[in-house]
């Protein structure tokens, strides 16, 4: 875009110079013609003005382009920020076998969620409680509910309105990792956090 308009401008100025030269050489009369001199002068002035206008326009366009670029860059940065916030929000927390208490190593992750929820008052989330396959299938629905409630209670206790947090339990029905060892089980005993509304342009907590 930039090179095309530049070429166009160059072509235009070449044409202007050509016409002004031609205008100067056309009269054979050596007596200077005041009118023609004035015309030539005017033509020169005009071509200078035209070149100046072109330069101004170029500068203006360049400025606009830069502004657009800046805007795009900052938008990208903003969405990069939102992406990061979203990831922080989606960070899962984990539980010990047959337990629903919040582990101390997960409190940081929950504190981040509190901050995000505070910085984004329209944001609503759903907490899903999950279990590993070791427990009883049906009991795990109750246990998953306890886990989701425990996560919600932590957020509410730190100042988040309870109405902004839905909960659900999946029991052991949606394992994150297939496998029948502690590595898989420990990852499957978790609470997941998903946005239900107000998740566009998430603001980073200050």
């Amino acid at each position: 875009m930039k090179s095309v308009s530049l070429l166009l401008v160059l072509g235009l100025s070449v044409a202007t110079v050509a016409t002004s030269c031609g205008g100067k050489k056309a009269p054979e009369n050596p007596v200077p013609n005041v009118d023609s001199a004035a015309a030539a002068d005017r033509a020169r002035q005009d071509s200078i003005a035209a070149a100046q206008a072109e330069a101004d326009r170029l500068a203006r366009e360049e400025q606009e382009r830069l502004a657009r670029q800046r805007e795009a860059d900052s938008l990208a940065a903003l969405s990069r920020g939102a992406e990061e916030v979203r990831n922080m929000l989606a960070t899962m927390i984990h539980f010990d076998l047959d337990k629903s208490n919040i582990r101390s190593d997960d409190m940081g992750a929950l504190d981040q969620k509190v901050a995000i929820l505070q910085a984004n008052p329209d944001l609503r989330i759903r907490v899903g409680g999950h279990c590993d396959e070791r427990g009883s299938d049906e009991y795990n629905l109750a246990l998953g509910n306890r886990r989701a409630q425990a996560a919600k209670q932590y957020l509410v206790a730190h100042g988040i309105d309870a109405s902004r947090i839905e909960t659900q339990s999946w029991g052991e029905e949606r394992p994150l990792v297939d496998g029948h060892d502690e590595t898989a089980w420990s990852q499957n005993r978790r609470a997941e956090f998903e946005v239900t509304s107000g998740g566009d342009n998430l603001r980073r907590p200050s």
Partner: protein, 454 residues
């Protein structure tokens, strides 16, 4: 053949007189199973052969008979002509002379008796009617002939009709009803399926693609209930068997509802509801689809997995009030809650998935033993528990209507599948050789009316 016949005749002399006296009035003696021989026959077409095979398997799976397999099949039967005289002699000594026994005069009663048979079953056909003739070997006569007009083998009702015939044979022999005409509901890959108790005729009964759990039979065998995940909630439905007609239980869809259980009179459904307060038991009138009642107030504990006593007076359930889940019991209105299956605090593992037996005497459940699950049975009267399984992980037991068989999930073969155990003999057989089947629910006896497709 000669040594066999000799042995047969020798044994015959010992057993006939003693056993005849003992067997009078005997319906069933635990530990001593009457011998039964299904007479090998040919003829009647492939349809009749499959009827014979299905009934023979039903009788075997009833675990109430010692099934005697005849070596060489027909040869034994053909040899009856050479030993026909003692058979007729036995008949006359016994003083019975029935027309039907005359018709089966070729049956070599002493031979079968010598083989250990108390009963012989003969399946024949007369026109459209299939006849199952049960011979009483000791009495050397026909005990009963059961007649049935079976649908053609291509009909979806065929197998169940044959199973009913099998149950009538058990009834004729022992005076108790068998479990041949029953089915098991289970969950596989999130969908509800049904399967005949003999492992045949697996059929999808789920009517949606949503993930389902916890199927439960109504006492009429014509309806079942189950839970379905939907938009983050657990919905309870009851559905008519053999149709896609289903009704959402009133008030469901507001929370996570699961583990539905019908009261025996089918007026009430009790279920678990998980809310912010935890999980508690609720009841709802399903006849009028109204009148939600809360039965437990757990506060800091969960209450779930209800199962009615067959008289409808009590509900056994799981409660986490002692810390780990254990089996509790209460009156059907939620009063008088107390511990049901004893446990040692801090020693006994979690106990879950109770199901009250149809005879009311036992509650089956599974319990964590050393990190894996095992099936236990609670004796309701003495409140003592005994461990039933020990190989692999065994869970979610469900009672057959005879209160002596349990279907359960076990990984004893390497992957989780459905198995059936007979509590009296300890015999275990696979119900379904497919991995991933779980949460089985054994039907009541399925009467004619309960399965006829509208």
């Amino acid at each position: 053949m000669t040594p066999l016949l000799l042995a047969v005749l020798l044994v015959m002399q010992d057993t006939s007189a003693i056993d005849r006296g003992v067997r009078i009035g005997i319906i069933y003696r635990p530990g001593v199973r009457p011998g039964l021989v299904a007479l090998p026959r040919s003829g009647g077409g492939a349809g009749l052969d499959s009827v014979r095979a299905i009934i023979a398997r039903d009788l075997d799976y009833s675990d109430r008979f010692e099934i005697i397999t005849l070596p060489g099949g027909d040869s034994i039967r053909l040899s009856s002509s050479t030993t026909g005289t003692p058979a007729r002699g036995s008949t006359s000594r016994n003083g019975t002379s029935r027309p039907s026994s005359a018709a089966n005069s070729a049956l070599n009663y002493p031979l079968y008796q010598a083989l250990g048979a108390d009963f012989a079953l003969d399946v024949t056909r007369a026109g459209d009617t299939t006849l199952a003739t049960l011979h009483d070997i000791a009495a050397a006569s026909v005990r009963r002939t059961v007649r049935a007009t079976l649908p053609p083998p291509t009909s979806p009702d065929f197998r169940l009709a044959v199973h009913r015939l099998g149950d009538q044979v058990v009834q004729a022999a022992l005076g108790v009803t068998g479990i041949a005409a029953t089915r098991v509901l289970f969950v596989r890959e999130g969908k509800v399926y049904q399967i005949d108790q003999d492992g045949a005729d697996q059929k999808l009964v789920s009517s949606t693609n949503r993930q389902a759990m916890s199927p439960a039979w109504a006492a009429d065998g014509r309806h079942f209930a189950y839970m379905e995940f939907q938009a983050g909630k657990g919905w309870l439905y009851f559905q008519e068997m053999g149709t896609d007609k289903r009704t959402a239980v009133s008030t469901t869809g507001t929370a996570l509802d699961f583990t539905p259980a019908f009261s025996p009179d089918q007026q009430t459904m009790v279920f678990s509801r998980a809310t912010e307060e935890g999980t508690d038991l609720y009841s709802i009138n399903i006849k009028n689809n109204c009148c939600l009642r809360r039965l437990t107030v757990g506060r800091f504990s969960d209450n779930l997995s209800p199962t009615f006593s067959p008289d409808g007076q009590r509900i056994a359930f799981v409660s986490t009030r002692p810390g780990l889940p254990q089996v509790y019991v209460m009156a059907a209105d939620g009063t008088d809650q107390q511990l049901f299956a004893p446990f040692d605090y801090g020693v006994t593992g979690s106990s879950n998935a109770p199901e009250w037996s149809p005879d009311g005497q036992s509650v089956a459940f599974h319990r964590d033993v050393a990190g894996t699950l095992q099936v236990f049975v609670l004796d309701v009267r003495t409140r003592t528990v005994r461990q039933l399984t020990s190989v692999g992980r065994n869970e979610d037991p469900t009672w057959a209507p005879d209160s002596r068989h349990l279907a359960f999930v076990s990984d004893r073969s390497g992957y989780r599948q459905l198995w059936i155990i007979d509590l009296d003999t300890g015999r275990i057989r696979p119900l379904l050789q497919q991995s991933g089947a779980r949460l089985p629910a054994w039907s009541p006896r399925l009467s004619e009316a309960s399965t006829t497709t509208p």
